[in-house]
Symmetry: C2
Subunit: 767 residues, 2 copies
C-alpha cells in the first residue's frame, strides 16, 4: 500500500467539470466593452523588399479605428534568444516568408478589419527565394538574413577520441535520415485580447505556455516595463509547444489597444495557425556508428542540418537537441557532432512536443536496428547492452541521477510479446527471405531520453505561494499554466499531499503574472519537476507553520505531529487529533495567518548550445515503445495495430494523467511518422487545413498499452520527473523498425507515406 494519500492516485481533473459544462474560460470567450477586432496583413511573397505601405484607404473605411505598420514598432524585433532576435514585430524593410506580418488593423468588427486589409497597398520588390536548406548553404544562395551561407547557428561537440573509437570498432555503418515539418494542431486557434489603460497598464489574455515569458517579450517589444503588463490566465485549448513564443497577434493586439485606447481582440484563422505559428523543424541527419562484434558502441559521428525557416526562433536549440540526442540514450564513449541551423524562406519552425529529439530518435533507432541486424543481435538485447544507467555521466558532465531505461525496454518487450512477434515478423530471419514472403505484420522498438527542464538563465526557477483559509482549505498560487495536460490537478495533488489535505481542499490560482509567483512555464518537460518542487516547498513551509500552531494545541512538539488525511494528530495517536479548520482558526486568533512560500531551482548550469557545455538538465526521463504494424503490400498503407509504451516518469503523481499523456504522445508521434505532411510549393503551404493535413483521428489510433515505470527520482517531487513529452520521441522509429520487421523495407524519410513504402517494396522485389 502506498504511503501517500493524494499523489500516486488516479484522480479526476480539478477543472474537469467546468471544461465539460463549457463554463471554463478560454480567451475567445472574452468580450470586453468597446472591444475592437484586429486582423493582420501578411506577405503574399516568400521574399521581398518592402518599398512602400499606403494605409490611407484602409483608414478611411468606416469602422476602422487604427492601422499599424513597422513604422509604429520602432523596428522592434523578437526571438526566443536575445542574440537571435531576428523577427521584426511588423516587417519594416523585408518580408522573408509567405505570411510574414506587414500591417495590422483594428476595427469595430472582424469583417470590417478584413476588408480594411484589402485596402492597404504594399509595394514589394520581389527577391529570389530559397527553400531547401542544402541549397541555402550553397555559396551565392539568396540571403534570407545577413549571415554567411544562411547559417543561423552551428553546434559542435568533440568528445573522447572519435578516430580511435572507429579504429577499435569491428563494424561501422553510416546512414542518412530526414524528417518533415509537422503542425501542432491544437484545437483552439491562437487568439489574444489586449486592454490598455490610460494609467499605463496593459492586460493581455492569450493562451500561452508561460505567462512570464510572454510578459517579458511583450515588455521588450512594446517598450513597457514588465511590471506594467499583466498576462492573465485563460484556459488553453492545446499547445504542444506551439503557444510559447510571442506571436504577431499578441503584439499587434497590444499595440492596437495602446493606439486606440480600447480593448482589441485578434483571432487567427486555422490557415494562419498552420502557416505562421511555427512548425516542427525538418531535419537531415547523417549518422555514422562504430560497434564491436558484441554490440558495444565505440564511436559516433553525426551531422545534422535543421531547416529553421525564415526566422531563428528555437532553431539553434532544436539542432542542439537533435545532435545531443545521439548520446543520451546509449553509452557513447567517443562522439563528434556538427549541427547547422539554416535559414530558408519557409515559414519559421519552432518548438513542438518532442522538440528536436523525435527527429534524432527516428534516425538513431532506425540506424541501430540496421546495425543490430548486421550483428545478428536482437534489437532489444542490443539496446539493453548499451543502455544508459543511473550514475552515467553525459559529455556535458551532467549525471543521470535516476534511470528506468532498461526497465522500460524490458517491460515494453515483455508486455508487447516482443520475442514471439518479432520472430513471426516477415523480415525476421533475413531481408532476402522477407522479400519473398507474403507476411505483413511486424514489431519494432524505439527508445529515448527526455530532459526535465533546461537551464534558461532567469527562467530556470519556479516559485509558489500557499495560503490557508479559515475553513482549513488552502489556496495555491502558481505561475504554471494549465495547457490541458492536468498541470493544476497535479500541482494541487503535490500541495495536498505535502500539507496532509485532500485534493478538493486545494483551490488553485494559476498563471497570472500580477498575482502568481515567477514560473518557468509549461515547456521543456520542466513543469512537474521544477514547478512541482516549488509547490512542494511552499506547502512544506505552510505545513511547518500549521504544525507549530497545532503543537501548542496538542501539547506536543511539532516533530511529533502528523498531518494527514485532513487531520493533525500526535504520531500514532490519530484519536487525539484536530481538524485543519480548528488549527487554522486558532492560528488566526493567535495572530498567525498561515502563509507558505517556496521556490525550486534545478541544480544546473546555463547551456551553451553551440558547444553543448553546461550541466543544464537536472534529471532525465526515459521511454521505450514497441509498435506492432500491418503493412498492406498492395497499397503501401501502414496500420499501427498496437503501441506498447513504457515511460519512466520517475513517479506518477496522477497515473490517470500520465497514461493520458502517453496516449497523446503516441498520437503525435504516429502523425509525424505516417500521415502528417506539410506540402510546400515555393514557400506556400498547400494544405493548411484539417481536411488535407492528415492529423490522425481516433479511428487511426492503435490499441494503446501505457506502462508506467517509476525510477523514483531522488530530486523530483515525491520522486516525479515528467510525463508529457518523452514517449512522443519513440513512435516514428518503433514504427519504422516494425515496418522493416513486417515487410523488409527500410524507410529513412518521414512521413512514411504509402508511396514510399510501395517504392521500397518495389525496389526489394527488383533486387
Amino acid at each position: 500500500m502506498s504511503e501517500y494519500s493524494v499523489v500516486g492516485k488516479r484522480l479526476p481533473r480539478l477543472e474537469g467539470v467546468s471544461k465539460s459544462t463549457g463554463e471554463a474560460f478560454y480567451t475567445d470567450d472574452l468580450n470586453l466593452p468597446r472591444m475592437l477586432h484586429g486582423k493582420i496583413l501578411r506577405s503574399p511573397l516568400p521574399h521581398a523588399r518592402i518599398l512602400n505601405i499606403d494605409a490611407s484607404r484602409a483608414l478611411a473605411l468606416p469602422g476602422v479605428k487604427a492601422v499599424v505598420t513597422g513604422k509604429d514598432t520602432k523596428g522592434a524585433k523578437y526571438g526566443v534568444y536575445a542574440r537571435t532576435s531576428d523577427q521584426q514585430c511588423l516587417a519594416v524593410d523585408k518580408v522573408r516568408y509567405m505570411g510574414d506580418e506587414v500591417a495590422a488593423v483594428a476595427a469595430v468588427d472582424e469583417d470590417t478589419a478584413q476588408e480594411a486589409l484589402s485596402l492597404i497597398k504594399v509595394q514589394y520588390e520581389e527577391l529570389p527565394a530559397v527553400f531547401d536548406p542544402l541549397e541555402a548553404m550553397e555559396p551565392g544562395a539568396p540571403a534570407v538574413h545577413e549571415v554567411e551561407r544562411n547559417i543561423c547557428g552551428k553546434n559542435t561537440m568533440n568528445y573522447g577520441n572519435v578516430e580511435e573509437g572507429f579504429r577499435d570498432s569491428h563494424y561501422i555503418r553510416q546512414d542518412r535520415f530526414s524528417t518533415g515539418a509537422q503542425a501542432h494542431c491544437a484545437l483552439e486557434p491562437h487568439v489574444a485580447v489586449a486592454s490598455w489603460e490610460t494609467s499605463g497598464k496593459l492586460t493581455v489574455w492569450t493562451p500561452n505556455m508561460s505567462p512570464f515569458a510572454k510578459r517579458l517579450i511583450l515588455a521588450k517589444t512594446l517598450g513597457i516595463p514588465q511590471s506594467h503588463i499583466r498576462v492573465c490566465k485563460s484556459y488553453i485549448g492545446g499547445a504542444f509547444g506551439g503557444k510559447s513564443e510571442l506571436f504577431s497577434l499578441d503584439f499587434c493586439a497590444s499595440l492596437l489597444s495602446i493606439k486606440t485606447g480600447r480593448p482589441v481582440k485578434i483571432r487567427y484563422t486555422r490557415e494562419e495557425v498552420f502557416t505562421t505559428t511555427r512548425l516542427r523543424h525538418p531535419m537531415i541527419m547523417e549518422v555514422k556508428t562504430g560497434v564491436r562484434k558484441d554490440g558495444t558502441i565505440m564511436a559516433r559521428e553525426i551531422r545534422v542540418i535543421g531547416n529553421t525557416g525564415s526566422y531563428a526562433s528555437t532553431g539553434i536549440l532544436a539542432v542542439y537537441l537533435t545532435c545531443s540526442s545521439f548520446f543520451k540514450t546509449y553509452r557513447i564513449p567517443n562522439l563528434r557532432y556538427e549541427g547547422y541551423c539554416v535559414y530558408t524562406n519557409n515559414p519559421p519552425s519552432g518548438a513542438m512536443r518532442a522538440h528536436g529529439t523525435i527527429q534524432a530518435r527516428f534516425a538513431d533507432e532506425s540506424h541501430l536496428d540496421m546495425i543490430a541486424e548486421e550483428l545478428k543481435m536482437d534489437p532489444v538485447e542490443f539496446r539493453l547492452k548499451n543502455a544508459r544507467q543511473t550514475g552515467d555521466v553525459y559529455p556535458n558532465k551532467s549525471t543521470v541521477i535516476s534511470c528506468g531505461l532498461s526497465d522500460c525496454i524490458t517491460q515494453a518487450a515483455e508486455v508487447s510479446g516482443w520475442k514471439e512477434k518479432r520472430n513471426a515478423g516477415t523480415g525476421a530471419r533475413s531481408q532476402k527471405a522477407q522479400v519473398r514472403s507474403q507476411g505483413n505484420r511486424g514489431v519494432g522498438m524505439g527508445c529515448t531520453t527526455g530532459l526535465t527542464s533546461l537551464n534558461l538563465s532567469a527562467f530556470t526557477p519556479s516559485a509558489a505561494f500557499v495560503k490557508f483559509n479559515e475553513d482549513g482549505r488552502a489556496n495555491l498560487l502558481t505561475g504554471a499554466p494549465e495547457n490541458g495536460q492536468g498541470t493544476e490537478t497535479m500541482l494541487a495533488q503535490i500541495c495536498a499531499e505535502e500539507l496532509g489535505l485532500g485534493l478538493d481542499d486545494i483551490v488553485v490560482t494559476a498563471a497570472d503574472t500580477d498575482v502568481t509567483p515567477h514560473d518557468i512555464g509549461s515547456y521543456l518537460m520542466a513543469l512537474t519537476f521544477v514547478s512541482g518542487n516549488a509547490v512542494k516547498n511552499a506547502a512544506a513551509d505552510a505545513r511547518k507553520q500549521v504544525l507549530e500552531v497545532a503543537s501548542g494545541m496538542l501539547e506536543a512538539p511539532p516533530d511529533k505531529l502528523e498531518a494527514k488525511n485532513r487531520r493533525i494528530y500526535i504520531k500514532g495517536r490519530p484519536e487525539r487529533g484536530l481538524s485543519f479548520a480548528e488549527v487554522i482558526r486558532q492560528g488566526l486568533i493567535k495572530g498567525v495567518p498561515i502563509l507558505g512560500k517556496g521556490h525550486y531551482m534545478p541544480n544546473t548550469e546555463y547551456l551553451n548550445v553551440a558547444t553543448g557545455e553546461g550541466k543544464f538538465c537536472p534529471t532525465y526521463t526515459f521511454s521505450s515503445q514497441v509498435s506492432e504494424v500491418e503493412v498492406d503490400r498492395e497499397t503501401g498503407e501502414i496500420k499501427v495495430l498496437k503501441a506498447t509504451t513504457a515511460h519512466d516518469c520517475g513517479f506518477a503523481i496522477n497515473p490517470l494523467d500520465v497514461e493520458g499523456q502517453i496516449q497523446g504522445c503516441v498520437a503525435t508521434s504516429q502523425g509525424l511518422a505516417l500521415s502528417e505532411s506539410v506540402y510546400w510549393q515555393e514557400g506556400k503551404m498547400l494544405n493548411p487545413d484539417f481536411l488535407n493535413y492528415g492529423i490522425p483521428c481516433s479511428l487511426d489510433m492503435p490499441a494503446m498499452k501505457p506502462i508506467i515505470v517509476e525510477s523514483h527520482d531522488p530530486e523530483g517531487p515525491f520522486g516525479g520527473k515528467d510525463a508529457g513529452e518523452t514517449p512522443t520521441h519513440v513512435g516514428p522509429a518503433a514504427i519504422a523498425n516494425a515496418i522493416y520487421n513486417a515487410a523488409g523495407v527500410r524507410i529513412q524519410e518521414i512521413p512514411m507515406t504509402p508511396d514510399k513504402v510501395l517504392k521500397a517494396l518495389e525496389e526489394n522485389r527488383s533486387r
Copy 2:
C-alpha cells in the same frame, strides 16, 4: 529632512488616473454573459407575522427565472457576532421593519424583476410595533425579538470607586444628550454580482470593506465552504462603514445564481440604500461627572441607551464604544457605566464612521464645557488638565503607547486663534450677558480618542505577499480593500519605503479572497496599523532576500548594504551600486525568485463588550477640533465658518491623504451635527433621498484647516496609526460648544437644526 523617501510624502493616488478616466472597475460595470437581474421584495409593515407567500404568478411571468423565499434559505440567519445572529436572510416567520426582506426574484432584466415583485402575494398578520427605545424597554411593549424588555445586549463597567469619587468632588453635574440616525450616503449604491459555476465555485463582486468577512458570512449563510467562494475586488464608491456587513443583495444574488446557474446582479435603489443598509445608532446618554475645583475629574457615571432598530447588527459594540468613550480621552479615576442596546421596529442600525463614539463625544465634550463654565475655566485648560498622556492605562488595562492629544488641543487652539475668538464669542463672559448680546460668532472645541483596530478573534491579524519582477519592480498582494480613502497608495508607499523602491515600482493587487492573504479589512481604523504592518513585514522579508543576492554581487555582507531610491549599494558608497533589476535578475539566474511574506497581529486580547474587559486595542489616535460658527438669530441657522482640526495619526504615511481624510471627517461630522436627519413615521423613513435628507454639499462646508500631529507610535508602521475616522468624532461637540459661545444656547440633541436653536434662543430670552 526626512529619513524617508516615499512615506511621509504627498503622493497622488495610484488609482487616480483610472478613476479619473472612468476606467476603474466598479461592480455595476460588470455585465456577464447570460446575466440575470434581481430584485428584492420587502415588508410594507414594521412588524408582522408572515402567514403565506404565493409566488406562483411571479414565476409565471415571462422572463422570470427564479423566485426565492425564506423556504430556500433553510432559515439561515446572520449578524455581526455569532451570538447575535438574529436576522433571517429572507424572513421566514416574521418581518420586523418596513423593508425587511421577504423574497427575491431573478429575471432577464430589472423591469421584469420589478414587475414580478408585484405579483408575489404575501399574507401578513400585522403586529403592534414599537419605535422608541425607552418605550421598547417598558414591560408589555411589543417584543421585536424573544428577549426580555427588548434588550439586545447590556454593557456595564465599574472601575475604581465611583461613590468615593463623587464624595471627593467639589462640583457634580448631570446632563442628558441624544443623537439621531445618520445615513452613510456613499455615492455608489449597494450592488452585487454573483456567479455560480457547476463545479461548486461561487464568485461574488460586491463593494465591501472586508472581502474575507464577506466571504465568511456568505459561506455560513449559504452553507458553502469559505474556500469555494471567491469575493473579488472592484473599486468602491464610498463605504464609511456602510459596506461591511452581509447585505440582502449579496445573499440573494448568490442564492439566485446557485438556483438558476446564471450570473445574477442586484442593484439597490437609493431608497433601498437609505432604508435597509444600516444607519448610525441613535443614542440617549446620561452623563454625571464630579470634579474638583481645580478641574480634576474625580468620577463619572454614564447611562447609555442605543437604538439598534430591528436587528442587533453591531449594536452591542456601538453601545460599548459609546460607554467606553467616556474614559478614553480624559483621565477618569472612578467610573461606572451601564449601556443598553435596545430593539425597536426601526430599520437596523449598524457601523458607521465614528461608530458609537461620535455620539459619546457630543455628549461628553458638551458636558465638559458646561462644567468648565461653572468652574470658570477655559475649556482648553480644562481639557489639557485632564487629557490622557502616553503611558496612561485604561480600565481594561490597555496602555496608551503614543499620545498626541495635548499637542492636538494646543495646536488646534493656537492655529484657530482660540483665545481671541473665544473671548470675542458673545457667550464668553457669562450666559446671562450673552443672552442680551447681539453677537453671533463663536468658537468651540471637541476632543476625542480613536481605536486603531480591535481584537475580533480570527479577524484580528492581516497578512501580505510581496513578489519581485525581473524589471526590479514588485507586486504587493494585500487583502485590504480600497474604499476610496487611499489605502492602496498608502500600503504601496509602506512597501516601497521598506524595499527601497519608488511608489511607481509597486503594483498592488488587493482584496481578492482567492489570491490575496487574510486581512482584517478596512474598518475599525485598523488598516494602516494592522495591514500596514503586515505589508511592512512582507516587504522586509523580501528586502532581506534582495540584500542577500546583492551581497554576493557587491561582495559585502547584507548588513553593510543599503536599499534606497531604487538602488542597492554599500552603505556610504552609493557609487558602487546596483539597480534592483540587476539584482532581481541575478537572483533568478541563481535560482532565487524573491518572495516576501509577512503578517501582523496587534498585541491585544479579545474584547468582552459586555464587561469591557480585554486589552483589545493596540494603540490609540487622538484629535481635537476648534469650530468657528455663526448663528443667525433670526432664522436659527448655523453656518460653520472654519474647522481647525488637529489629528494625531502617529505618522502621516501620505499627508495629502491624511488631510483629505480630515476634510471628509469634518463633512461627515458636520452633517450629523447640523443637517442630516432621518425622519421616521411609524417605522417609515420619510426622506430616503438626497433632496430631502440633508447631507451637506461643498457649499455648506467651512474653511478647513487640517493639522497633522505626529506622535510616532512605537508599534505603528513608520510610526503611523490611523487617519480615516477619528477626527469625525469631534465635529458635533465643537459645533455645539461654538454655538453656545456664539449665541449662549446649549443644544443637547443632534441634529442641531434651526428650529432647536430658535427655540433655545427663545427660552433664553424669556428667562
